[in-house]
Amino acid sequence: MRALRRTALALIAVATLCAGAADPGDRLHDPAEEARARALFRDVRCLVCQSQSIDDSDAALAHDLRQLIRQQVAAGRSDDQIRTFLVSRYGQFVLLTPKASLGNAILWVGPLLVLVAGATAFAARRRSLPSEPQNLTAEEEKTLAKLSREKSA
């Protein structure tokens, strides 16, 4: 629970100290640019917080990063350029979406392997299906009905 408490406190610190990304004083004038910046914020980790994006957090560093991204958006740089810039400065850790790389491949390959294994098991089971069972003859049906009547009586 100590860990939970620490998480909670960290969340509280960021959730309550300030208004977060929506602070009206910081917004860009162009709503489209602001929306693009907000979308980027959600993918950028607040490096000093615990598993939070800079969109949710208002640690001082998160605020600085937001302003940095807003400046770059206003300067007309593309999302990819901004991401590359952030990674060159802070490392891969800063992006919440893991990069598609060999080291991260397991993120997508792992669940896929589970699906493939499932499909294989399913196919194997289907092959081992015995031949179509014969339908009961009318006489057998009658006997069966009689038996179940006796049992439920």
């Binding site: 998480t7 598993s51 800063v94 991260n104 993120l107 499932g118 081992s128």
Partner: protein
């Protein structure tokens, strides 16, 4: 005095749990009922001893006995009684004691059960005893909840009065969560016992069913409570963040859900036997892993591996020993298990199989996403982040197909299903889903097709679940008297399934709607100024100071009016400053309507240009958010309803038996 008695009782519990293992194992090997009976007695005695220790800790918290380190660090004289008691499981040591209490409690109930056959029961009681010995041993040697402190360090009032954790939902959250986590321990023990015996059969699947249902339902409630607390207490307007601590509790739930469904196949058709046993081991393994990840502090910060390395490592060893032994046993015995029942691609089994593959893959997503940052950091030192963008996309992609197939599953016959017939019975549900999608596009937003699909999916699952129930009672196809008779005659398990399936649909509906159309706004307002959000108008009316027992607060009054101008509420968000800890905590003000929330948070006061002051107001409009919490509660209710099914209590195997069991009850 009571504290020392408690410590003694816990040490005694360790000895008793070891005796439980030895006696049950010896009884099993020698086929000696008296020895095995003594093992069962030891299981009950272990529980009694742990309960005594737990009582001693509660007593120390209630009487604010600050000579106990745990109480000194985690309690305060000014806490209300409920939170003094809840403080007993608020610390690492206390929560491990709660874990042991529930673990041995389940063990005692299993030992008292008279339905299990001799050999299986003795092995299971021995296994449960071994789990108990591992965790009680950890508690006694590395995590003593009743340790005394020196007289000089003894505080006068206690150190912790964390206001955020003083909350009813959070007080109840750990007991439910642990009751769920640890409930899977019995399934684990029964799986190990079945593997030892080399028999995983329909009877075994029926024995694990009540335990799985109980664990799954309680875990559902526990996770929902935690999510609800995070929603209304933390002031961020969201309800799930894919935080590693959340993921740790979610993984056993996902695998437990798969287990519930695969056990149904094993019970009814004898198929998937070895897979069900593997899930039985896996669910508790993930529970233990969750405990390790959260307890050791590995997860809360990726920068520091193991806050308390010694204890973290010990928990990892326990996890390795328990899960390693069980999985080794599985690898050895699974190939010998009989699992011959075959099924066609269109059958109830096949649909449940698909559910299992998708839920296993979803578990893999959460597991890999949570652990990969740790693994990468350990292997090549590259810190990476796996955050909500990954989880949202991958998880949804796997769960959406499961929800699409869900309504068809219960309508398909075992062995060989009739797909056209099933689809024919689902046309009303399909029409409702289509209608929901069109209504969403027309009334809410014509551009957000993805969200409309989500809404349609939720409606499809709810309508499909109800269609299946209607089918069973022959609604509109038989006279009302017969419908009533059929409804009364349906086993509770069937109603439970309907409720749980409708619950996941309700949740999906809420999550899709809230996710797509939540609105967020923030403005710095001075008195009389307004801001607009989702058609609602928020006007800052006044601000006042407020003095609580241990905090000073600034309370704003925000008048919220509906689009038509009528008043929705007077929201009163607060910013509390706690002098003792120096914390600033915002009290969220939530104005609920039937399904939606207007969620208002007050921010800091700022000097305005004209010399007055403005207040930063943040507000979230959360449409249909109620469904997000109501859905899981319906699911848990469904699980508990199934649990109350007579078939589970009396272990009757045939429908004839059920009919007979009902007759005396009806006669009363």
């Amino acid at each position: 005095m009571i504290d020392e008695l408690g410590q003694f009782a816990l040490a005694l519990a360790l000895v008793l749990s070891i005796a439980q293992v030895a006696l049950s194992a010896a009884g099993r090997l020698r086929r000696d009922a008296a020895l095995a009976g003594a093992g069962e007695g030891a299981a009950m005695a272990t529980f009694a001893a742990v309960a005594l220790g737990f009582f001693a800790l509660i007593h120390a918290f209630v009487t604010s006995d600050f000579s106990v380190m745990n109480v000194a660090e985690n309690s305060h004289t000014a806490k209300p009684l409920l939170y003094k008691i809840a403080g007993a499981w608020g610390s690492h040591e206390g929560s491990i004691l709660l874990w042991c209490l529930i673990l041995t409690g389940y063990g005692a109930v299993m030992a008292a059960s008279r339905r299990l056959p001799f050999g299986l029961k003795a092995s299971a009681v021995a296994t449960q005893g071994a789990l108990g010995a591992l965790f009680i041993g950890y508690m006694v040697f590395a995590s003593d909840p009743l340790q005394r402190i020196g007289l000089l360090q003894m505080p006068v009032e206690g150190n912790s009065l964390n206001p955020l954790l003083q909350d009813p939902a959070l007080a109840a959250h750990p007991p439910f969560l642990y009751a769920g986590y640890v409930g899977f321990s019995v399934v684990f023990s029964l799986s190990v016992a079945a593997l030892i015996a080399g028999r995983v059969d329909p009877a075994w699947a029926r024995w694990i069913r009540p335990w799985t249902l109980a664990a799954w339902s309680l875990l559902t409630i526990g996770i929902t409570l935690g999510s609800f607390w995070a929603y209304y207490e933390l002031g961020w307007g969201g309800w799930w963040a894919w935080d590693p601590v959340e993921n740790a509790s979610f993984m056993p739930w996902l695998l437990g859900t798969a287990l519930l469904h695969s056990a149904a196949v094993t019970e009814k058709r004898g198929a998937l036997a070895s897979w069900t046993a593997l899930l039985g081991i896996g669910a508790f393994t993930l529970s233990m892993m969750g405990a390790f990840l959260v307890r050791s502090g590995v997860l809360t910060s990726v920068h520091a591996f193991a806050i308390d390395p010694k204890r973290g490592l010990l928990l990892l060893v326990i996890l390795g020993v328990a899960a390693g032994a069980a999985l080794a046993l599985y690898a050895w015995r699974a190939p010998t298990l009989k699992d011959e029942a075959a099924f066609t691609p269109i059958s109830r089994e096949a649909s449940l199989f698909l559910n299992n593959v998708l839920f296993a893959a979803a578990t893999a997503v959460v597991l890999i996403g949570t652990l990969l940052p740790l693994i990468r950091a350990a292997i090549d030192g590259t810190p990476i982040s796996v955050g909500p963008p990954y989880f949202n996309l991958t998880f949804t992609a796997l769960v959406a197909p499961a929800l699409i197939v869900l309504p068809a599953g219960p309508l398909l016959a075992w062995k060989r299903g009739d797909l056209p017939g099933v689809l024919q019975r689902l046309w009303v549900a399909a029409l409702i889903a289509l209608g929901a999608a069109i209504a969403t596009l027309a009334l809410v937003s014509p551009t957000n097709a993805l969200a409309a699909c989500g809404v349609a999916l939720g409606a499809w699952v709810i309508a499909g679940a109800l269609a299946e129930a209607a089918e069973r009672v022959k609604l509109f196809r038989a006279p009302w008297a017969e419908v009533g008779r059929r409804a009364a005659g349906l086993p509770r398990g069937a109603w439970g399934m309907t409720l749980a399936h409708a619950g996941i649909g309700v949740f999906a509906l809420g999550a899709a709607f809230q996710g797509a159309w939540r609105a967020e706004g923030a403005e710095a307002l001075s008195f009389g100024q307004t801001m607009h959000l989702a058609g609602y108008t928020l006007r800052l009316d006044q601000a006042g100071s407020l003095f609580g027992p241990n905090f000073e607060a600034e309370r704003l009054l925000v008048h919220v009016s509906r689009p038509d101008g009528t008043t929705l509420c007077e929201a009163a968000p607060e910013r509390r400053m706690y002098a003792a800890g120096g914390q600033v905590v915002s009290g969220v003000a939530i104005c609920p309507t039937l399904l939606d929330d207007m969620y208002v948070v007050s921010g800091e006061r700022r000097a305005a240009a004209n010399g007055g002051s403005t207040f930063l107001i943040r507000a979230y409009w959360n449409p249909w958010v109620r469904l997000i919490f109501a859905g899981p509660l319906l699911m848990a209710l469904g699980g508990l309803l199934s649990l109350s099914d007579r078939r589970l209590r009396f272990a009757l195997t045939s429908r004839v038996g059920i009919a007979r069991a009902r007759q005396p009850a009806a006669a009363k």
